[in-house]
Amino acid sequence: MSSTEQGTSSAAPAEPTTAPESAAAPEVPESFYYVHGKDKVVHKVSAGALQHSALIHGMISNLGYTEEQAKANPFPFENIDGDILQMVVDWCNQHKGKPTPPEDTNLPKQKEKLFDLVLAVNYLEIKELLTYCCKQVAMMVKGKSPEEIREIWMIPTDAEDEAAEKEAKKRAGKEAAGETAAAAGDAK
């Protein structure tokens, strides 16, 4: 995955690249923030691009970080794989300040990647991207038969659901019994 025009990816906080966005530079210099995923690779993202994420936008609002402070305090998203975070950052940069088109053809086609992307986007609260992702997940089963849908989305049958429920109850019962025994032991 290539880095975006505003940012670079590296194991350490990246030096800002200064590629101008347009000939007419904004009067107020744009602020940048840094994020990293499970792989600790830091991505530099403009505040404008991060506005897509309600979660991050809420975090950076009123922070008033200087460039140095922002670089020294990258936002950690340990629950998101590095390559997935890169995809999200790329998407945010590509759609910065632009109206989002009704379809997005740049999303990953591999189901495993899409699954991780959906969870990440849901966590980061990126509404438009989440809509695209959900559409893409829905399209996985377009025109499929019920049994094909079951296989693709791994939907258990009623019998499997019931067996799993019984198993969960059994396990919960055992755990509760274990806790009671431990509490009785403590009391002695």
Partner: protein, 315 residues
């Protein structure tokens, strides 16, 4: 990139609830239907997702082989599900989905596939509007053939369509079930009304604003007026009963305390669309709060207007 068996799969149930629901809302209508047939859990998931559709119409045509459900989805798709009779398979419209086939996917016991399918659709999808369109004469309902809609099926459709407003216009001689309407705000019944249980109807429908019935018996109208007089405060604004043979005053007003109306003729003409100066006009009063209603009976029917304080002050 070629898909391997592993990356063909997507563990939807591992996603948080709101995410699953958003995925379901983005599915095509028939895909969502197919998904709902996979298990009790998937059925409940589609219901919880509140998959929006614009309207559904249950159509019972003159030729029963043309019976169908028509669905307009929020994605502007129009789908037709054939409800044709089992014996009419060759007549099935090639462009419509086969209701029998769809019903066979639903894991519920039922000896009536149309009933099973309709109940499933009404359970899982969030229809903004549900209507029933009946073209054929239901007086043949007792003909020993499954080609005709049965009274039970009609009753089921009525029970399943929890609408606020009903416009019913069909002839159903020999249909002898009594349907208890609930939580309705506007009811307009023409053709046949004998299926409607009017006992306690105002109590069961406290938000009823307008009730327009054709060919209701005079005694039943008397009962409805007594329900209003002796009942609780409701939203009722008007009652209209049409009978082309006219209603006898003495039956409608039997046992009811009436008062001379305060309405002038000019006011009555404005209030009652079918006012006639040959008719009889009286006021009645509700016991619990003293609300006044004016009853006008003429050769075309009986009309009742419930007065509200704001209106009275203008008179």
């Amino acid at each position: 990139m070629n898909e391997t068996p592993k990356n063909r799969k997507f563990g939807l149930l591992k996603c948080p609830f709101p995410l699953r629901e958003q995925v379901i809302r983005n599915m095509e209508f028939m895909d969502a239907f197919h998904f709902s047939t996979l298990s009790k859990r998937s059925k409940q998931m589609v219901r919880s997702a509140r998959y929006q559709t614009v309207c559904t119409t249950f159509s019972f045509e003159e030729d029963s082989s043309m019976d169908h459900i028509e669905i307009e989805t929020s994605k502007s798709e129009r789908l037709k599900i054939s409800l044709s009779n089992l014996n009419d398979l060759p007549k099935r419209n090639q462009n419509s989905f086969d209701g029998l086939k769809l019903a066979s996917l639903i894991n519920e016991p039922s000896d009536d596939y149309r009933r099973k399918l309709s109940a499933h659709l009404l359970f899982i999808f969030d229809f903004e509007e549900v209507s029933v369109h009946i073209e054929r004469n239901i007086e043949h309902a007792y003909v020993a053939s499954t080609a005709y809609i049965t009274p039970e099926y009609l009753q089921f459709v009525l029970n399943a369509t929890k609408a606020k407003e009903y416009y019913m216009d069909f002839k159903m001689d020999d249909l002898n079930f009594k349907y208890q309407l609930n939580d309705c705000e506007f009811l307009d019944v023409s053709g046949s009304v004998q299926w409607l249980d009017t006992d306690g109807i105002l109590q069961r429908n406290p938000q009823m604003e307008h009730l327009h019935l054709e060919e209701l018996q005079g005694g039943q109208i008397n009962g409805l007026l007594k329900q209003w007089i002796n009942g609780q405060v409701t939203d009722l604004e008007s009652l209209a009963f049409f009978n082309w043979d006219g209603y006898p005053n003495e039956v409608i007003l039997d046992g009811i305390v009436t008062m001379e109306t305060k309405l002038t003729e000019d006011q009555a003409i404005i209030i009652f669309l079918y006012w006639n100066n040959d008719g009889r006009t009286v006021d009645i009063q509700r016991k619990i709060d003293g609300q006044i209603a004016t009853v006008h009976i003429n050769h075309l029917g009986c009309y009742v207007h419930m007065w509200h304080e704001s209106e009275l002050s203008k008179l």
